[in-house]
Symmetry: C2
Subunit: 232 residues, 2 copies
DNA sequence: CTTACAGTGTGGTTAGACCACAGTGGTAGG
DNA sequence: CCTACCACTGTGGTCTAACCACACTGTAAG
């Protein structure tokens, strides 16, 4: 077994045993190295991996943002991983879109009326009305979809949904260039968002799921991603 | 931007541009360091991250298994990430099981009759008949479920399903200790497997999906993971 | 022709040094 | 007394240079 894996095991055990909790701080790299009798390099490699997994965040200096602290951001981490695999052509964009439809439809159908995330989603829609800028619109759109997914109350589905979105974020941005009329498209997307949210709030899960599926597929279809789409 | 991120960007660009393909070899660590004008340490941190993502595999020595080669194993990588997050108590096991049911049901419903993966699944069932050993049985069971998921033809769903399974593999192993009668349980699981496969081969997707959902939920319920189950 | 072995290039690991950064606390100047 | 400055301390970030184990390759000895 390689040295940095030993460090990983040790840290994972600390987490499992509850000796290290969310928001907690890892010992300094030098301290860990001495404690485990390994070099600081090996400790750093382990920390790097955990950072890539969204399990910790490393900060220099001193004070509240300093040191290596335990966080919980599986979404961005999974997103980076998927993005890389898309780059290797092993994961077709079409499969990602299809999976997104699957997860988001399920989440829309299961969304709990009254969930705080739904209020956030509504607020985001208001902001989108005043955002003609494409970048801003897409950023808010992403947050809207994540909020919707969170309303279903399954953290794993939320994380995966966010990661799928993140994996093809750049890709989606480029696709807007294919659109003939951005204003018309964004108006339509806005209307669809409101319809989806209304269906969810009316506790009509089936309708909400159908609307979400059509919403996502419609965008990629208009932008030129068919079911046989090639990567990039 | 940190140095190792620069290296990551460079490698990702090589992948995106097609200069580096699946099965391809990265330049040696020393060569990359010189080419990018960074230290070998930073190159190694980048490689570690890619390795954790299942994008590359590093091997010592020389010859076929040596060097750092591009692979595509998102499943195990995502699984490790999820497992760590389960350790932080941020991802409840119940959510993982629920997501597994969602993905596998979908895959069972979409499985293409005649897919090679179905033949493999059938062969695995034969092997399971001769495997009274719990460990062997569970390993084959995992492969059976993955094969079933692959028959739907969506690489992202396959990878995620495999990762979910992997994330709670140890957990599932411990759960078998809760079972009153392993032989009875395994006989039932075997029968359910055959029923699922039969439904898929009969192109009865709806029935296959229902059977899969009941199969997975049944196991965890019998082993003591309720919908409100706590992690570990 | 076979065998043994030095050579070469790979990743794996280590030690030690220096840097930038951000709080902390003492101190000199107002 | 108060304020502004600045050295101090501990954090992660980076780099260099060396050595190791490994696995193949080519060559030389038998």
């Amino acid at each position: 077994m390689r040295t940095h894996e030993l460090v990983l095991q040790w840290i994972e055990k600390q987490l499992s045993d509850g000796d290290l909790a969310l928001g907690g701080r890892l010992p300094g790299e030098r301290a860990m190295a001495e404690q485990l009798q390994v070099s600081r390099t090996s400790v750093r490699e382990a920390v790097r991996i955990l950072e890539a997994m969204g399990v910790v965040r490393a900060g220099v200096g001193s004070g509240k943002d300093a040191g290596t602290v335990v966080i919980a951001e599986p979404g961005s981490a999974l997103g980076s991983t998927l993005r890389l695999h898309v780059a290797t052509r092993h994961l077709p964009v079409a499969d990602i879109v299809e999976t997104r439809v699957l997860l988001e439809s399920w989440a829309a159908a299961r969304a709990k009326v009254g969930a705080p995330a739904l209020d956030e989603a509504a607020a985001l829609l208001e902001q989108m009305d005043d955002s003609p800028d494409i970048e801003t619109f897409l950023a808010l759109d992403a947050r809207f979809h994540v909020a919707l997914a969170q309303a279903a109350g399954n953290t794993v589905v939320s994380a995966m949904m966010a990661s799928l979105r993140g994996a093809i974020e750049n890709y989606a941005g480029k696709l807007t260039g294919n659109l003939p009329d951005w204003k018309a498209t964004s108006d339509r997307l806005r209307a669809e968002h409101r319809a989806i949210l209304a269906a969810v709030n009316a506790d009509d899960g089936g309708r909400a799921a159908d609307l979400v599926a059509a919403h996502i597929q419609g965008f990629y279809k208009e932008a030129g991603v068919g079911s046989q789409a090639s990567g990039r």
